[in-house]
Symmetry: C2
Subunit: 263 residues, 2 copies
DNA sequence: TCAATAGTGTCTCTTAGACAATATCGC
DNA sequence: GCGATATTGTCTAAGAGACACTATTGA
């Protein structure tokens, strides 16, 4: 039995001593690759539908650290930007009876743990939604005995989600959109060097609209957010785009000033 | 024994059957009067410090309806705009031992209820912060046997707050400020007819900065948010200001378009 | 040489932001 | 008349937004 299994067994047996009751955290982890915005999802053994990587909150930690801990476990990343965006509390949200009656109880059985109807894991939960931004290529999605599969899904073609996780994703996308109108974005999602068309494509995906490429470049350069390098990226049968970097000082400055970016 | 007391007794005895564990809601209720932004606070019998009107969440309701229910109880208002803005989960936030050891236990004693150390009310709570906007003059602050005092306090001269409620208020003010940069505000806080200087003063208070009065008027009128009436408000030894109304259609339009308002 | 995508400049029009003199009102 | 507050217009500068042709690459 590995460390993770031991932890889960202890969670089931003693969890209510050190976890908050009725509170969970769900993370919408955004990555960007090949001009597609992606979300990291997992699927427990025996389930048809997919889940957001989420978990419970230790009594000795904050929601932020719970979210960070869970994200770190699934992505192996230490430095990741996390944003609390909404709580989900519709009483109907917990009514995925397949999960509670089948998946949970089978898992309990396989781990040789007894859970009855008053077990804390069967309470109704209110979930706090976080979205996270990370560079796709740094992540090694990590499944385990609970999460049979753990992989990236393109935002516009997600699999069937259980609970209200489709709602949570919808809200996360909306929050990300609003966020993008008020703060620069990209440093967390793109590699260190990137091309303007890649950056523009990211903005277009998030904001869900076309942006004029001349105006976009003009703006990004004129506010000093990005800086051209001398290198080019060779990517196939057409003119090679220049690589750009973010001006980190300016990036922070724009965030702290709360300058509004309109496209 | 009145209805409210019965309810509180039942909460203490049977509450864990119908309330979520470890989750509460706290409301920062904003009102505006005499050019001052105010917050509704209450003080339980025997406490030195003040509290935000908050409460627990029924398992059969959402956080939004819990917040609305609690606000309605304290203000007697049905229609009030509520915004979830942040969760507060620092484990230290529950360490106001005076409240748990003295106030709660005395209240229990006076109501003839026993509570021991494992009682659900003594759990650590994570609180969901809401801010509410309401027209000051419509509110009848309601105290009761629990909240000895219930009254408005000017935002810039608040009394000592218990728990982390001073933090919650600080965050609420910040959220209100951000909100004001992105959505029109005023309809919820001002009477139906108001003067431009009143409206401007509201904005200056929330945004915490001076605004040029010519530019302010010009902007508000040019975007169609406010409409001049023929009436004037007679208020003392100087020129009488005109009364204005909000254009409700335009107000909604601006909200749904998410138009950015910069001052 | 063709298909695909990148790179680049100009003009207009709106509006943010700076700025101060005059009008009313009550005493 | 005086103290207090409300009302009102113009100018400038910045930038949002519309718009299309040329350059480069690899097959």
């Amino acid at each position: 039995m590995n460390k993770r299994e031991k932890l889960v067994i202890d969670q089931m047996v003693n969890g209510e001593n050190y976890y908050y009751r009725s509170i969970s955290v769900d993370n919408v982890i955004f990555g960007y690759h090949n001009r597609e915005l992606k979300i990291l999802l997992l699927k427990p053994l025996g389930m048809q539908r997919w889940l957001l990587p989420g978990g419970y909150v230790l009594k000795k930690e904050t929601l932020d650290s719970a979210a960070k801990r869970i994200v770190r476990y699934r992505t192996m990343l230490k430095d990741i930007k996390l944003f609390q965006f909404k709580c989900f509390s519709d009483p109907q949200r917990n009514k995925d009876t397949y999960f509670t009656t089948s998946v949970l109880s089978e898992m309990a059985q396989s781990l040789n743990v007894k859970i009855d109807n008053t077990h804390w894991l069967l309470d109704d939960f209110i979930s706090v939604g976080y979205f996270a931004l990370t560079e796709f290529s740094l992540v090694k999605p990590r499944g385990d005995f609970y999460a049979e599969e753990c992989q990236w899904w393109e935002v516009n073609s997600l699999p069937e989600m259980s609970f209200d996780h489709a709602d949570i994703i919808r809200e996360a996308l909306l929050s990300l959109k609003m966020f993008t109108y008020h703060y620069p974005i990209g440093k967390e999602l793109l590699p260190e060097k990137f091309t303007i068309p890649e950056l523009q494509s990211l903005y277009e995906t998030i904001l869900n609209k076309k942006i004029d490429n001349r105006n976009f470049t003009k703006k990004m350069v004129s506010i000093g957010l990005v800086v051209k390098t001398n290198e080019k990226k060779k990517i196939g049968g057409h003119r090679s785009p220049f690589l750009y970097k973010f001006d980190n000082e300016r990036y922070k400055e724009i965030i702290s000033n709360g300058e509004v970016l309109i496209f």
